[in-house]
Amino acid sequence: MENENQLLDINHLHTGFRIKDDFYDAVDDVSISLEKNEILAIVGESGCGKSTLATTIMGLHDPNKTKVAGEVIYQDLNLVDLNEELYNKIRGNDIGMIFQDPLSALNPLMRIQDQIAESLIFHTKLSKEKRYERVLELLEQVGIPNPPRVAKQYPHELSGGMRQRVMIAIALSCKPPIIIADEPTTALDVTIQAQILDLLKELQEENGTGIILITHDLGVVAEMADRVAVMYAGQVVEEAEVGELFNNPKHPYTRSLLNSIPQMDSENDELHVIDGVVPSLVKLPRKGCRFAARIPWIAAEEHEENPVMHEVAPNHFVRCTCYKNFHFEEGGE
């Protein structure tokens, strides 16, 4: 391995869903990597394939309906080729996942303690009493008041924030080196959001975990992430350290995203919106720059025919050449 600190190395990953009789890639040639002790944020609009990327890493796709190709290298193993049995050894133990909606991700008929203990049963040889101790310890760790009582409760008896804390406790239970958090705070209100994010960051620093944080909230990114990958229509269009990305955004999509955040000090109080939406999988143009359709005022020659990643600064990559002469639409701002 080239890099000691590398936890996960994703190369040319494709995930295609079967629609009618063809497979359409929702994740299209994604290559990113995650290092120890790092929070990698993945941002992008709804439908750009963020969740699909996460579930592909976790191997949650039904092989009848999806086609996965490429590499997800973890400890010299390509997870994409693993069978269920081997995958089950890794899931939970080496990679944990936090879901967006904690209510639907918790089993309504199981007590909290049993759900947290689930990973422990499969991955550790702890005795029943030891497992229970660990469950209480985890609940304490994620800041839940009165752990012995909550351990005996059912998900519907907890508040949203507490449920998400339980989800985090579940993901943490076997101290996995990698955690994937798919929009962990979208279902929560703002104050709870901040608490949960603080908790994640704290736990991450404590354990040296690598976190892939999926979000569409650039505020969260600025606060939490070390590195950012911006996704558009299944592809990574820009990747950089967080400071670099915010100070020196290149790709038109990144710039439009940053531009659409409401600014306190801006003179005009009109919000910038990016016209159009992410095209659906079936209608997605597979050739040329995928963002071209949403910036029609940029001449076609500015785009590359087959856009590739360009290193514009050390560790700062941008797809396509259209960033060079990009400007916002006249009169738009």
């Binding site: 039904d62 995958y87 939970g92 879901f99 991700a105 409760q153 924030g161 989800m167 579940i170 608490q195």
Partner: protein, 307 residues
């Protein structure tokens, strides 16, 4: 965004105190539902008393003794010797009622258990895995479902030589598992796509554990309700077939054989003691089981609960 963690904690603490830990479905919930619904409670009590009487009573009755023909007592009206009179063979109606009710209930129960076991297993597998497995199982189910069930049962019953309660149960089950499989499969299909199943997978839990320990309990309420109502239906089917003369042989009493006597117009109008008790028993059994089933259904669905 001024968050005050102390206030949060206080809120969460009070929230905790107000709720004692209630499982979404469990014995307590069901008990509360029955206590709230007087009709269901009465039905349950009547049902338990009926079942106990029938089963305990039947233990003290010798089938050979009851079924012995004695022409002297032909169509004896109710008297101290024959509390409910006797049939054309001079056999005690009361004795037959006990044995018949026991047989009918046992048959209905066995069919329900067998078909549920097969249906739940196959339905879960089909719904959970989907794809090819689902296709294979559901095509077999489709095939069984389009067969004209009653005709097939009648044909089989006619051609099977030594016909007993046991073969009757098997033949019925052969056709009745398909509907169960379809029901369980459709529920398992939607339940298996829920996030908590994915979440469980991300913990490294294997498929069979998820299927039986997580998906099954979440669809168990619908299965229990269906089993209860099915139990009533299966008793009905048995008595129906026997009434038509395609069920149990005359030497094995069942509720159906008793009602069957009413096919003769003379018995129907002049000797009601032969068929009325059995018919009433069927009616009461069905009603009770259905009321209990309704209460269970409500208990299973938090939105419909009364208590």
């Amino acid at each position: 965004m001024a968050s005050n963690p102390n206030v949060e904690d206080v809120i969460e603490e009070t929230e905790l105190d107000s709720s004692s830990s209630n499982p979404p479905l469990g014995f307590k919930v069901i008990a509360r539902e029955f206590l709230k619904d007087k009709v269901a409670l009465t039905a349950l009590i009547v049902l338990v008393i009926l079942l106990l009487t029938v089963f305990i009573g039947a233990m003290f009755i010798d089938q050979k003794e009851v079924m012995r023909v004695s022409l002297l007592n032909k169509f004896a009206p109710p008297s101290s010797e024959f509390l409910l009179g006797a049939d054309s063979g001079g056999r005690s109606i009361l004795g037959q009622l006990f044995l018949g009710a026991r047989n009918s209930i046992m048959i209905g129960f066995s069919i329900t258990v067998i078909t549920s076991f097969v249906g739940v297993t196959l339905g879960l597998i089909a719904g959970y895995f989907g794809g090819v497995i689902d296709n294979i199982i559901m095509r077999i189910v489709d095939f069984v479902m389009i067969l004209p069930t009653y005709m097939m049962i009648i044909v089989l019953i006619t051609i099977v030589p030594s016909f007993t309660v046991f073969t009757f149960i098997l033949i019925m089950s052969l056709f009745m598992w398909a509907a169960k499989t379809r029901l369980v499969r459709s529920r398992a299909l939607s339940e298996s796509r829920r996030d908590y199943v994915s979440a469980s997978k991300t913990m490294g839990t294997n498929n069979f554990v998820i299927m039986f320990r997580e998906v099954l309990p979440n669809i168990s309420s619908i299965i229990i309700v269906n089993m209860t109502l099915n139990f009533a239906a299966n008793i009905g089917i048995e008595t129906g077939l026997t009434f038509l003369g395609f069920g149990l042989p005359a030497s094995t009493p069942s509720l159906g054989t008793l009602v069957n006597y009413a096919r003769s117009p003379e018995v129907l109008s002049a000797r009601p003691w032969i068929w009325v008790p059995a018919s009433l028993l069927i009616l009461v059994l069905m009603l009770c089981i259905n009321y209990v089933g309704q209460a269970l259904r409500r208990a299973a669905d938090a939105k419909q609960r009364l208590g």
